[in-house]
């Protein structure tokens, strides 16, 4: 962790001035100098701890109280009862399940699509930059706008583009499914895959372009097939970029609120944990239960984040070494 390629000015642990620098005649004591070095860091650190960590602590505290906002006088210590309620409430349990399915599907599908697209874009062809720009466009719509686009402009059973195309291609007796009602979770997933595939593509393309070309060229000269080059050189090199994409995608998509809120309003079995928590406290006013669910989401996120941080740190260290 203490790789210090960027830190040749002051090696950590050697606070006693540098050669070549005109040191001030009266050297301030080492402790003061350490604080001077630390000072620029403190505003950001303190701000972040207050705004992001304190609310988490408060959530933890609220989660052990029986607290409904409509009956504020009845607030009382409840121990772990809220957690028991979260874990035994079929609706909340279902939203845990929905969150897992939604996240896993979107991450895996967009990762595979993103890799295929990255492999395509790694080649030279006419208009590659234009294709790249077209592919990024879905990612650059405001998420709410993208969700509205899918819900009203594409999925609408009467005049949406999908049914319109079915009508135009197959004639008057074409099937006209009500997409959101018939496959609610799939509808949410499709819109998210559309938005997140470009993200995966960008990460994997960056990975492909950092691939050592000597090895690939050597393999070509040795007569390796395209599949062999992919299987034995490209894929192992991409492994960590795939992991990174999957983990960051998971971190972002587990938190998804906009698509669920807009496309199905959490109905038809699509309510994921963020939506359920939002509803439990915003409409149900069950502060204690909502907080307990929140704590459980945090625990789940910490598990994912531990892996994510490990991958980031391994890439980071490799970067520092090269």
């Amino acid at each position: 962790m203490t790789d210090t390629t960027t830190t040749t000015t002051t090696p950590p642990g050697a606070p006693t001035g540098r050669t070549g620098t005109p040191a001030s005649p009266a050297k301030p004591p080492a402790r003061l100098r350490a604080w001077v070095t630390r000072a620029p860091l403190l505003p950001a650190l303190i701000f972040l701890i207050i705004v992001t960590q304190l609310p988490m602590v408060a959530t933890l505290v609220i989660s052990v109280f029986d607290w409904n906002a409509l009956y504020p006088e009845a607030r009382s210590f409840a121990g772990l009862a809220n957690y028991a309620e979260v874990l035994s409430d079929p609706e909340l349990r279902k939203s845990v399940f929905t969150t897992i399915i939604l996240t896993a599907t979107v991450v895996l599908v967009s990762l595979v699509l993103g890799m295929l697209l990255a492999l395509l874009l790694d080649r030279r062809f006419k208009g590659r930059a234009a294709v790249r720009t077209m592919l990024i466009a879905p990612f650059l719509l405001v998420p709410v706008a993208a969700a509205l686009l899918w819900k009203h402009v594409l999925y609408n059973p009467e005049y949406g583009l999908f049914n319109g195309l079915l009508h135009a291609v197959f004639g008057d007796d074409a099937a006209q499914p009500d997409w959101v009602a018939e496959m609610p979770l799939g509808a949410v997933e499709a819109s998210l895959v559309w938005q997140w595939t470009p993200f995966m593509m960008l990460i994997l393309l960056a990975g492909l372009q950092s691939r050592p070309m000597e090895a690939v060229e050597a393999a070509w000269i040795d007569g390796a097939s395209a599949w062999q080059v992919f299987r034995y050189i490209t894929l192992p090199h991409l492994r960590r970029y795939l992991e990174l994409g999957a983990l960051l995608g998971t971190v972002y998509i587990v938190q998804n609120f906009d698509a669920v809120f807009t496309i199905t309003s959490g109905g038809l079995g699509t309510a994921n944990l963020p939506y359920t928590i939002y509803q439990t406290f915003y409409q149900g006013h069950e502060y204690g239960v909502a907080s307990a669910a929140g704590v459980l989401v945090v625990i789940g996120s910490i598990i994912i984040a531990t892996f994510a941080l490990r991958v980031v740190s391994s890439l980071f260290r490799e970067e520092a070494r090269s």
């Binding site: 000015t9 860091l41 950001a44 650190l45 719509l141 005049y159 960008l202 690939v216 990174l244 941080l309």
Partner: protein, 300 residues
């Protein structure tokens, strides 16, 4: 660059680029051209919903809601006029102004906090600077929704509900970790020899920062700002819960824009495009640095 990846469709016309050794067999070249075509098709497929949205926004409501779709219907700006309040609906200017305030001011705050922090993590690093860097990152991994209730209660009790400054503070904290990571990686690229040379020449810290560090770091600062701007502009959960009428931001306005009566497709498309425009512009401007920001600095 290997021969296989450098064969472009142009090579067919005997205008082989002199830099690329054109030793790939014809079949490989033909396959590359074919794959290029597939890439084009997939690209078009991905951008099609967006293009359709543009077209729909330029149709009249009646033409936008036909089945099968009417491609050649006459174009009109009515959808945009309606969105900007011509039909007697609520005006979007308030919420657009709120979004601009929340995004721009929070981005400025982020830079004010992140730049010194990144300096203390790269050019003149504190002890255990990697640990500090990873602490910043770890805060980004925790789901926003888990801290929402205490923030809501705090806002309610302190009268900050429906106040745009609360969003400014929250967006600052939301983007600070990303900005610190990005700025750290940009500042770390500045050659230390350059800074030392300036010190030997007797330059003091303010001079070094403005004359040596700032010019090199400027493109990175610009990319970081654009990404922070995008994230703040897109944010909806905080905005939805913590704002009402006065501090409503554009995404919240957009969700309240759907009416149950009458047709609204053209209007919604126009609204979505107008509200996405700043993000599209910022995103394409920062295209090359986008991955770095989104992957929290892990990918360059």
């Amino acid at each position: 660059m290997s021969a296989a990846t450098s064969a472009s469709p142009a090579a067919k016309t005997n205008a082989a680029p002199s830099t690329a050794p054109n030793t790939a067999p014809k079949s490989v070249r033909r396959r590359n051209a074919g794959l290029g075509l597939i890439a084009w098709l997939v690209g078009i497929l991905f951008v099609l919903p967006v293009l359709w949205m543009v077209l729909t926004s330029l149709h009249s409501e009646a033409d936008a809601a036909t089945n099968p779709p009417s491609l050649a219907a006459p174009l009109t700006l009515d959808g945009y006029r309606e969105f900007f309040g011509a039909g007697g609906g609520p005006s979007p200017w308030f919420s657009l102004a709120n979004s601009v305030t929340a995004s721009v001011v929070s981005t400025v705050f982020v830079l004010l906090l992140a730049l010194p922090a990144a300096y203390a993590l790269s050019i003149r690093p504190v002890k255990k600077w990697t640990d500090v860097l990873f602490f910043f990152l770890s805060t980004k991994m925790l789901p926003v929704v888990a801290g929402l209730l205490p923030i809501y209660l705090f806002a309610k009790n302190s009268g900050m509900l429906d106040n745009i400054w609360l969003l400014v503070i929250l967006y600052t904290s939301m983007n600070l970790p990303i900005a610190v990571w990005m700025m750290q990686s940009f500042l770390a690229e500045i050659p230390t020899a350059l800074i030392e040379a300036a010190q030997i020449d007797g330059a003091r810290l303010p001079v070094i920062l403005t004359r040596v560090v700032a010019p090199i770091a400027m493109p990175g600062i610009a990319a970081t700002s654009l990404i922070c701007f995008i994230f703040s502009w897109n944010e909806m959960l905080f905005a939805r819960v913590l704002t009402g009428v006065i501090a409503q931001t554009a995404p919240v306005f957009l969700t309240g824009f759907i009416t149950s009566q009458g047709l609204f497709l053209a209007k919604v498309c126009a609204a979505s495009l107008v509200i996405s425009l700043p993000v599209l512009a910022a995103g394409f401007a920062a295209q090359d640095k986008l991955v770095q920001g989104l992957s929290l600095g892990a990918v360059k």
